[in-house]
Amino acid sequence: MLELLGLPPEASAHAAEIDRVIVLLHWLMAVLAAGWGAFFLYTLVRFRRGANPVARREGITAGWSTYVEAAVVLSEVVILVFFSIPAYSARVTGFPNAMEATEVRVVAEQFAWNVHYPGADRTFGRTDIRLVSSENPIGLDRKDPAAADDVVSVNQFNIPLGRPVIVHLTSKDVIHSFGLPQMRVKQDAIPGMVHDLWFTPTRTGDWEIVCSQLCGLGHYRMRGFYSVQAPEAFTAWLREAATP
């Protein structure tokens, strides 16, 4: 079923959990569609006026339909309780220890993704909206010592393989949505709020960040890139980016 659905490749640790819910639900749909469909076609043929000139008022009297309904409800309950709720709550709780993770801030704006790395000191430099300019899209205060080794990258999000990533997500102007299809990550970037999300990439590769919320005229081209790199490659990239 998974191949049939044609979802993007799974490239994060939790992707399979999410896909499992999708797959199970589509099995449920397939079974129901087949059952209902067969019944529907049968009745249309069997009970057409030509074949059944006089209707039977009572219609169906067998009680099996109740069992079918109960079975549908039961499958939904199982998928909800044992698959969906755990999969979702693992996304919004159970954050890894920041020391073991790669931490970044992502600030969305019309129509770009700004990625802010804290650098070697693991501390984000201060930001201030009054410092925002075209060279300094997130308004980073370079005078803050913590900001000295910070890296700000526009539309390019690099992450190391196999380590959890924590993203603090927000927006400067309107609502955007930070979508990483291959990671099964999507989260609205809402101005005035910071939302955290986390995931662990399990495959290297170069993919795209997809804006998933109508954010204006350039929404369709609000595309960023993200690369899952081998840890050494990532460290090298970050070091180079930090040197002015």
Binding site: G6, L7, P8, I18, V21, I22, H26, W36, F39, F40, T43, L44, F47, R48, N52, P53, V54, A55, R56, R57, G59, I60, E69, V73, V77, L80, F83, S84, I85, A87, Y88, S89, V92, T93, E109, I129, R130, V132, K172, D173, V174, S177, P181, Q182, R184, Q187, I190, P191, G192, M193, E208, V210, C211, S212, Q213, L214, C215, G216, H219, Y220
Partner: protein, 575 residues
């Protein structure tokens, strides 16, 4: 003598008002559909000039015939708005509800004929306001039909006009729903007890309650957004925004999610407003054309009421990705699964009703039958969107568009077509042409699936909605991109086949077979106790009294295979 104006323009008669609603909303449906046909060009052939008509839209919208993102976003927002608020609901409720419901309950008119007229004209005004916004500088609203702030805050003046138009529509719907409920509760014919009501009337009743209680939330939201846009308040505007490189002035401190809560508090029940009247229509047509009652009538009524009630408790499943914690998301996932149960029950009951019937495949029945699997697909594909975990992957993709269009287009719209074919003889005294009707059905059925089925494929692959170039930029969807042309040609094909419908509507006025009062041999009062068309004044020659349930078809021991609701019980008749 009533003047021409009183009789046709400012009529107080529910039948005339119903027809006014129906015609106006059909025009709006065509208009909303045309907007989409334009968009489908840009999706299939991004950046290429629109053929033939490209020059008509002016340099602000389509210089050299090439549609700009500005225009695309207007078309998208207005397609959604027009279809939902000016097309489907006014046709299903204002049109069918107004015309049929009083007849089915044996009433001589609505409880408040003047309010009824006011509803229609407020609706008309709302529609004109929405249409007029296209000619404003910057054009119509372009922030989606959902109008999320802050995007809608920064939008052009068209957004303010959109809010004004919504205000008219909300007032219209408020007057209408008060009138509908009062009429159903108070004006039922003697003997027409609650469980003798045709299911159509139940559908209208639950719908009216949803409109009555859910729309005020949008009214409040629209008021607050208008304040933000006109008086510079910051209800939906947080502090510290930088827009277009400049710090946004204003007090700040607002919350953009507040809008979403209020909006979806309306817009989720609105989905059931779109679907319940359609189910009502389908039940009427199915019972008449299977010659047997509906399976589990009381169960269906109970499910419809429960559905209406639950629809107030699921709104935030549209907001799973706005940063919801475990407990709130669990609550809304659970309520969403609960609300799927009555929907499954209703759909199963409709399927089961076919069993044992004697099915006549006329045009209204074909459309009604097609409703079942189409609504089934729409409903089932809602499940992955209603669970927060799978929604992470599918939110804002074409899967969503596919899901709700299966509910509202091949679902509700087909039911509405079925209703037009079914009640046309009541309104005009003549049947619509069956051959044209069947061609219309076959073409529509094929092409509409051609549009919407590939949306699931695209959505699963991760193609997003509301993309001006149909996703052409993105590498991960390049394998499913080619569907865009297929879907667009399907859409234009669908458009072509609507000509058969339009021609049929006009042609049959003159040339249709005279229908007689009850061409479908139906049992409900609208057919059984009136002429076609019904008496202009007061509907019924003599006030009907009801003696039985709505669907006494094929009662054993009787000569005819149907007994109208107002016929008394005979000896020998099985009860």
């Amino acid at each position: 003598m009533p003047t021409f104006f009183r009789r046709y323009i400012f009529s107080l008669d529910h039948k005339v008002i119903g027809v006014q609603y129906a015609l106006t909303s059909l025009v709006f449906l065509l208009f909303g559909f045309t907007l989409m046909l334009l968009m489908r060009w840009q999706l299939a052939y991004p950046g290429q000039p629109l053929p033939f008509i490209g020059g008509l839209f002016g340099v602000a919208n389509a210089p050299g015939g090439v549609m700009l993102p500005e225009f695309y976003n207007q078309l998208g927002a207005m397609h959604g708005t027009v279809m939902v608020f000016l097309g489907v609901v006014p046709l299903a409720v204002g049109g069918f509800g107004n015309y049929v419901m009083p007849l089915q309950i044996g009433a001589s008119d609505m409880a408040f004929p003047k309010l009824n007229m006011a509803s229609y004209w407020l609706y008309f005004l709302g529609g004109v306001t929405m249409l007029a916004s296209f000619v404003l500088p910057g054009g119509a609203a372009n922030s989606g039909w959902t109008a999320y702030p802050p995007l809608s805050y920064f939008a052009t003046i068209g957004q303010t006009v959109w809010l004004g138009g919504m205000l008219f529509l909300i007032l219209s719907s408020l007057l209408g729903s008060v009138n509908f409920i009062t009429t159903i509760v108070q004006l039922r014919a003697p003997g027409l007890t609650w469980f003798r009501l045709p299911f159509f009337v139940w559908g209208q009743l639950v719908t009216a309650f949803l409109l009555l209680l859910a729309f005020p939330a949008l009214q409040a939201a629209a008021l607050l957004q208008a304040m933000d846009r006109i008086f510079g308040t910051s209800f939906f505007m947080p502090s510290g925004l930088v827009y277009g490189g400049k710090v946004v002035a204003g007090a700040g401190g607002g919350n953009p999610l507040l809008w979403q809560h209020l909006f979806w508090f309306l817009a989720h029940p609105e989905v059931y407003v779109l679907i319940l009247p359609a189910m009502g229509i389908v039940v009427e047509i199915m019972t008449a054309n299977t010659r047997k009652p509906i399976w589990g009538y009381r169960l269906m009524v109970g499910s419809a009421i429960f559905l209406g009630f639950m629809s107030f408790l699921v709104w935030a499943h549209h907001m799973f990705l706005t940063g919801m914690g475990t407990s709130i998301s669990t609550f809304f996932q659970t309520t969403t699964m609960i609300i799927s149960i009555p929907s499954v029950i209703i759909l199963s009951a409709l399927f089961l009703s076919l069993y044992g019937g004697s099915i006549r495949f006329n045009t209204p029945m074909l459309f009604a039958l097609a409703f079942l699997p189409m609504f089934g697909i729409g409903g089932l594909t809602g499940l992955p969107l209603g669970l927060a975990s799978s929604d992470i992957a599918l939110h804002d993709t074409y899967y969503v568009i596919g899901h709700f269009h299966y509910v509202v287009a091949p679902g509700t719209i087909f039911a509405l077509f079925a209703g037009v074919y079914y009640w046309y003889p009541k309104v005009t005294g003549r049947l619509m042409n069956e051959t044209l009707g069947k061609i219309h059905f076959a073409g529509s059925f094929v092409f509409i699936n051609g549009i919407f089925m590939p949306m699931f494929i695209q959505g699963l692959a991760g193609m997003n909605r509301r993309l001006y170039d149909g996703g052409a930029q993105y590498a991960h969807v390049k394998d499913v991109l080619h569907w865009n042309t297929f879907m667009s040609w399907s859409a234009w094909g669908l458009g072509l086949f609507q000509l058969f419908f339009i021609v049929n509507v006009f042609l049959s006025l003159r040339t249709g077979k005279p229908a007689g009062s009850n061409p479908w041999q139906a049992t409900t009062l609208d057919w059984a106790a009136t002429s076609s068309p019904p008496l202009a004044h007061g509907n019924f020659a003599s006030a009907p009294v009801v003696h039985r349930g709505p669907y006494d078809y094929s009662v054993p021991g009787t000569r005819e295979d149907f007994i109208p609701q107002h016929v008394e019980h005979a000896d020998g008749e099985a009860r």
